[in-house]
Amino acid sequence: MGSRALIGGVLAVLALVAIIAPGGASGGDDASQPYPTRQLEIMAPAAPGGGWDTTARAFQQASRDAGLDKGVEVFNVEGAGGTLGLSELVSKSSGDPYQLMMTGLVMLGAIETNGSDVPITRTTPIATLITEAEAIVVPADSKYRSMEDLAAALKADPGSVRVAGGSAGGADQLLLGEIARVLGVDPKRTRYVAHSGGGEANAAILSGSVDAGISGLGEFVDQVEAGKMRLLAVSSPVEAQVDGKVPPTIKDAGVDLELTNWRMLVAPPGLEDAERERITEYVTKVLESPAWQENVERYDWQPFVKTGRELDDFVASEQRRVQQVVADLGIGK
């Protein structure tokens, strides 16, 4: 291979990179122009490939397709359930309307379990984007035929049901704790086996080392449709059909409770109300774009949009609820 061909190859790659890379125009913010007037940065406070990362990149792509931005960059700040990213946003980016962060229910849990000293209320919430329903499954050959069976077993002896799910204090364990509380048993007595991700939890359920599993519905759909797991219930109503039918909710099974794993975009603290409104307007426009709708379908998410005052109330109530469950479960410190 000649050196000319090599140079040609490198040039081709550089050209490709130039196409992918968003323009890096920067400058002051002009309030008379619609937000954003320059490049926007979105932090995904988790590893590439996770839920927050996927949502942030899907937003980035939709915003670009809709031609609503001057370049959006997504970057990852990994660690400690997202609380590292949170404290970085609050400490380093205060007052900067061009730094957004993806977050969600899981971060509320992590803040409580890690004893992080930065509450989510320090940020400026912009909008919730989507939710994923949590699903409760059992192996196909389990003696639990329905959510009622499982609830009865939990009620009789919460320690008799071994449950696999994601990280300690995440949405999965929160749901288990809430179910126990609603059933009137001590959440501390539940037997929860934490895994580092949905994949590992799936493997544990299939191997038969646990009696049940809790995770995002999307993690289980394939296994359920292949007949390897039985879907007992979902934690909030969903429209999609799984294995030919709409799955029942835990409420249908008499556990009076609703919980979804929602995700939202937040801005740093120290923004003026007008700035918050301009960002909200932009985010809402992206969420209304066909490109975003396509992504929501692609990833089997449920649209879930709250903004402004309504959002503040929602975040505050979810925070109280998470604080209560984490204390009930007696996890972290």
């Binding site: 291979m1 090599l6 190859g9 790659v13 490709l16 990179v17 992918i20 590893a47 590439p48 490939g49 996770g50 990149r57 980035q60 792509q61 670009r64 970057f75 990852n76 700040v77 990994e78 660690g79 400690a80 359930g81 609380t83 590292l84 404290s87 970085e88 992590a110 379990t113 890690n114 004893g115 992080s116 320690g159 071994r162 990280s167 300690a168 037997r191 086996v193 934490a194 580092s196 991700g197 994949g199 590992e200 799936n202 493997a203 544990a204 299939l206 191997s207 038969g208 080392s209 759909v221 394939d222 296994q223 449709e225 292949a226 390897k228 692609r298 990833y299 996890i331 972290g332 410190k333």
Partner: protein, 502 residues
């Protein structure tokens, strides 16, 4: 069999068009260029490039591009391990041990070549294995429970204790230091902070890359600085000659390639197997099988084996990904997201419902491997030029490179300082003859073993019988005990024989 072959041929037919080959070449080049950058592993490379695939109507092109990027990214990581002693991701840590020693002795070209060809050979073996045994392996893999993983890590641990030094005290002290570093962070099972001393950034634990770059790169730079005055600046010329691998290198490499692939694939196929354990197992195996080689001074077997294991383990991760829809690594998780974009739902029914696409993907990976070899063997000549940089500039560069890698990995100065502290420690360990490898093993294996054991015990309610209740666990435990005892049998026998003489 015939059906499989026909399917694979169909896959190749779909892939082998000029346009696709160009995409593969682009992917490999892009992947290699990004992969050699510090702190950017294959997972992040693919995440950065995922949006381009939204523009492809046809999934074949996207797969091809992916396969190329992935193969290039993996190889790029090994390149920095070998040339600069700074592994960019956990899977290429083992490569750095002998690889950098080879490079330092003017054998960088052979090291890079054995890594590239080994990746190709192992990739090929892995893909053939994937084609033939995906289904049975997948059904076996999901039988593994936490207690079995514990037994398996114990077995791995027993097999690699050969890496400890002549002095048991120093070897085990190194191991304990590694274990303690491994335990730093928020406990996965309970969410409690351990050994973080209230430093938030330590909550995420100390990444193995931080430990490896600290011990290898920073420790080595300090070591060099200490001897600077007593030795003149010498440059080791790169070996002359036109071929990348000499006949002798090839003879020494091919068995480690095959063995490495044999170790890597099954580990990758296990949902909690990973790539770190098999690379070190391969390293230890080669060291045991050929103890007379120049270990610690650039034994080519120590590069060939782990590199092959690393690549085969990736083919292995495709088993649970494609057959069960279970992603077992960050890269696999991103690939899963990419599949969903093309309405390809990995899972138990994939091979029936979407068989055409699956075979196209497998063929793409194969083409990516070949393209990697075709592009990177000529590039070796360019890479080894790095070694001709004067020593002061090279080592200062390594420090900058390592710092950049750790910073872009973690985004914080705290991790960088932790890396320097580990480097200082590594320097003193070198000075007082404490072995480095056990530290790395402790960091990798300690938390794995602990987490799996505790998961098993949490599920059983602290009942230890869980480790003896299923044949699979018991067999693995017996193997582990055997691996601990057998190496010491000759010495034991000798002692007993002497005893009779007395």
């Amino acid at each position: 069999m015939l059906v499989l072959a026909a399917n694979l041929l169909d896959g190749f037919a779909a892939v082998l068009t000029p346009q696709n080959l160009l995409l593969a070449a682009l992917g490999v080049t892009l992947g290699t260029l990004v992969g050699v950058l510090p702190g950017i592993g294959p997972a992040l490379t693919i995440a950065l490039l995922l949006p381009i695939t939204f523009n492809f109507e046809d999934p074949v092109g996207a797969f091809i591009l992916f396969a190329g990027i992935y193969a290039g990214g993996m190889y790029g990581g090994s390149t920095t391990s070998i040339l600069l002693n700074t592994p960019g991701e956990s899977a290429s840590v083992a490569t750095a041990i002998e690889g950098f020693e080879m490079a330092r002795r003017g054998r960088g070209r052979a090291a890079l070549a054995t890594a590239a060809i080994g990746s190709f050979v192992a990739g090929t073996i892995g893909i053939v294995a994937l084609t033939l045994v995906a289904d049975p392996v997948a059904s076996l893999a999901v039988k593994f429970r936490a207690e079995d993983y514990f037994a398996l890590t114990l077995l791995a641990f027993a097999s690699v204790t050969a890496l400890t030094s002549s002095s048991l005290v120093r070897g085990f002290a190194s191991l304990c230091v590694g274990l303690l570093i491994g335990f730093v962070g928020i406990d996965q099972l309970t969410g409690q902070s351990r050994l973080t001393f209230s430093v938030d950034q330590l909550g995420n634990g100390v990444d193995i890359v931080i430990v490896a770059v600290g011990l290898f790169a920073v420790g080595e730079a300090l070591h060099m600085a200490a001897k600077l005055r007593s030795r003149p600046d010498e440059l080791v010329p790169t070996e002359p000659g036109g071929s990348w691998l000499s006949k002798q290198d090839l003879r020494r490499s091919w068995k480690p390639w095959v063995r490495g692939a044999g170790i890597g694939f099954p580990f990758g196929a296990l949902p909690a197997g990973g790539a770190e354990v098999p690379t070190f197992l391969s390293y230890a195996t080669e060291k045991k099988l050929a103890p007379d080689r120049e270990w610690g001074e650039g034994a080519i077997e120590g590069v060939a084996g782990p590199e092959a294991a690393n690549n085969a383990s990736f083919s292995g991760t495709l088993v649970p990904l494609l057959t069960l829809g279970i992603p077992t690594s960050a890269t696999a998780a991103i690939m899963l997201a990419a599949f969903q974009i093309f309405n390809l739902q990995p899972g138990p029914e994939l091979f029936e419902t979407n068989s055409e696409l699956v075979w196209t993907l497998i063929a793409s990976l194969y083409v990516g491997n070949i393209m990697l070899l075709a592009l990177n063997l000529p590039l070796i000549r360019v890479w080894v030029k790095v070694l001709e940089i004067p020593r002061a500039l090279l080592y200062a560069g390594i420090l900058v490179f390592g710092t950049l890698g750790v910073y872009s990995l973690s985004g914080s100065v705290v991790e960088v300082l932790v890396m320097y502290a580990i480097g200082v420690m590594g320097f003193f360990m070198r000075r007082f003859d404490f072995p480095i490898a056990p530290v790395i093993l402790g960091v990798i294996l300690g938390p794995l073993m602990e987490t799996q054991a505790r998961r098993a015990l949490t599920a059983s309610g602290d009942d230890f019988s869980v480790f003896f209740s299923r044949p699979l666990t018991v067999i693995l435990l017996i193997l582990a005990v055997a691996a601990f005892v057998i190496p010491h049998l000759p010495a034991l026998k000798k002692r007993l024989a002497f005893g009779e003489d007395d």
